[in-house]
Symmetry: C2
């Protein structure tokens, strides 16, 4: 199952920066077509230069507008931009996302911008590995910034966060009511908060709510501080102030997610967002967190690739499928169970699993 | 890695229909705790009696209200009901679902109803296998009807459809605008359509839209009909009528999803839904489709169980993780890639993968 060498012409055209080769390479890795691993293997040493920015939030928060504005601003600064719009295709959310794609047309004609929609519903490898693979191709091609956008439903927002160096969570004033229930999930993924449509009522309140939530995180850290000379530090310290002071004392070693305001439809606040993104990259680099995140991505990629190979070997084997079919009746009658069948299947599949 | 015998006391208590044993068995299989496979293996021969009904639709369609009303109606008919409320936990949708759970309280105190919420965000096995496993436990315990409800985001609605004998898709008049874009996904999963909140404006229009969509499916089938004596059948036949006639000619061998109207909050239309569910089961049995769907579930369970065992063997092994750590630097510098590492890892892991 060792892969053949990748299509030499494709790689040569890719190196010559021909857009058709870029599109073809992306299609191959997105759909895990024959040779996708060889293509990614050849490109692997060239990745690591691009900054990968994940953008997520609830439906209607203006993610595509913010993404388009960011792309425009980066282009004005002379940087090239790859956009991966991840659509966790659902019969019930598909329509909204289609609309989003259309709204991106203002940057779609710029040759310095490349937009790719991913809709890998139910794919074996999952959105997470498809997103990472497509971002790898864009990175190897030489894009300076890679914007990965997805609506936060299911676990697509987790997949995006895993694929990004920096994750931006976009909320709107209307998200305020649910912020208390969102706490854990948001804290897990957000490096930067954006309150978009901040000219609407409620923008201040949601900003306060988020900052309160961030203060609670500092409070959790404090629980590990031992009582000092009989004084309970937790009782005399303001968690939010502790977090601010920690951030101020060494801006490059700790990170408290800023809460920015934008009115993306008018371009307001996008400059501040770019500044915050730049500041976050400096923090990632100085603290060693960038290397840690990228190593974690490599680990996850090894796991994905290994499991993909195992699945291919097992489930595309005629003998395996014939074996399962032969025991279906026994499972229906209860004399075998899926667990006894799985054990037997692994016992008889050694040659498939370990061949090189 | 062969499993130990399951806790004999747990199984005895389960057989004595003690609710505490039911709750414990569900927790064990939901969280894939030690011995979960032994529990499911013992229960496996007892499953197959319950009817499994999946209920899905967009946020706000009234899924929990319909579920509660169905449960109430089944209880009045002397049947017991297990409810699996699947929450594809997202930081952005969590709040809405929490509200749904609370609305189910009217049936929650009835000892003939058992409600379990599943929120297995990012779990290895995925929602699909957790849902199926919990439904298996409820089935083995003796519940007559198992209602599995989820909001249609991500691919949770696909997972539910895979776990159910019959899938009910609930829409509301407001869903009408997006129905054209929903087509493919809905046709894939819906056995019965319900237009809930049908006392609102637009109910007739969405019903017509769905029926048109169903007619288009018949139209697609017609494309395979060859021209007959020079007459193009496609041009003279009304696809919707063809579908209706096909359904009328042999009600037990073909199935056209009915489009029902409910006002679930007032209990209106629930009787018709129960009738349609009964009619669908008769179709499933007479056509052989029930056996086909259940065999497909068994196949998928064998695949899930096998992959779960492989993952456990590989990724919980200290040697495997130490090996990945040892090649991280080489992957960073580009002398190794995740693909060469995966090949090497499979080559050295034969003893882990095939041991019995």
């Amino acid at each position: 199952m060792t892969s053949a060498a990748p299509d030499a012409r494709l790689i040569a055209d890719f190196d010559a920066r021909r857009p058709a080769a870029l599109a073809r390479a992306i299609s191959i890795v997105e759909n895990q077509r024959t040779g996708f691993d060889a293509v990614l293997g050849v490109l692997h040493p060239r990745i690591g230069r691009a900054r990968r920015i994940g953008i997520t939030g609830p439906p209607g928060a203006g993610k595509s507008t913010v993404t388009t504005q960011l792309a425009t601003a980066y282009r004005e600064a002379g940087l090239t931009v790859g956009i991966v719009a991840v659509d966790p295709t659902s019969p019930f959310t598909g329509g909204a996302l289609l609309g989003d794609r259309i709204r991106m047309e203002s940057v779609a004609l710029d040759p310095g911008v490349y937009i790719r929609s991913l809709a890998t519903r139910g794919s074996l490898g999952g959105l997470s590995s498809a997103t990472r693979a497509v971002a790898d191709v864009l990175d190897a091609y030489g894009f300076d910034r890679i914007l990965m956008e997805t609506v936060g439903v299911g676990q697509s927002e987790l997949d995006i966060a895993r694929s990004a160096d920096t994750t931006v969570v976009i909320l709107v004033p209307e998200s305020g009511d649910s912020i208390q229930t969102l706490k854990a999930g948001l804290m897990e993924i957000a490096d930067i908060f954006v309150v978009n449509k901040a000219d609407r009522p409620g923008a201040d309140r949601i900003r306060t709510d988020i900052e309160l939530m961030l203060g609670m995180r500092a409070g959790e850290a404090l629980r590990n501080v031992p009582a000092h000379h009989g004084v309970d530090l937790k009782k005399i310290m303001n968690p939010a102030r502790v977090a601010r002071e920690a951030a101020a004392s060494d801006q490059t070693q700790t990170w408290t997610p800023p809460v920015l305001r934008t009115v993306a439809a008018k371009g307001e606040g996008i400059g501040d967002l770019i500044t915050a993104l730049d500041r976050h990259v400096r923090y990632l680099e100085a603290s060693g967190e960038l290397r840690r995140r990228r190593r974690q991505r490599l680990r996850e990629q090894v796991i994905d690739v290994t499991e993909h190979k195992l699945r291919q070997r097992l489930w595309r084997d005629d003998g395996t499928n014939a074996y399962i079919d032969s025991v279906l009746s026994a499972m229906e009658s209860g004399t075998e169970t899926p667990f006894t069948v799985a054990d037997a299947l692994l016992g008889r599949s050694g040659h498939l699993l370990t061949r090189t």
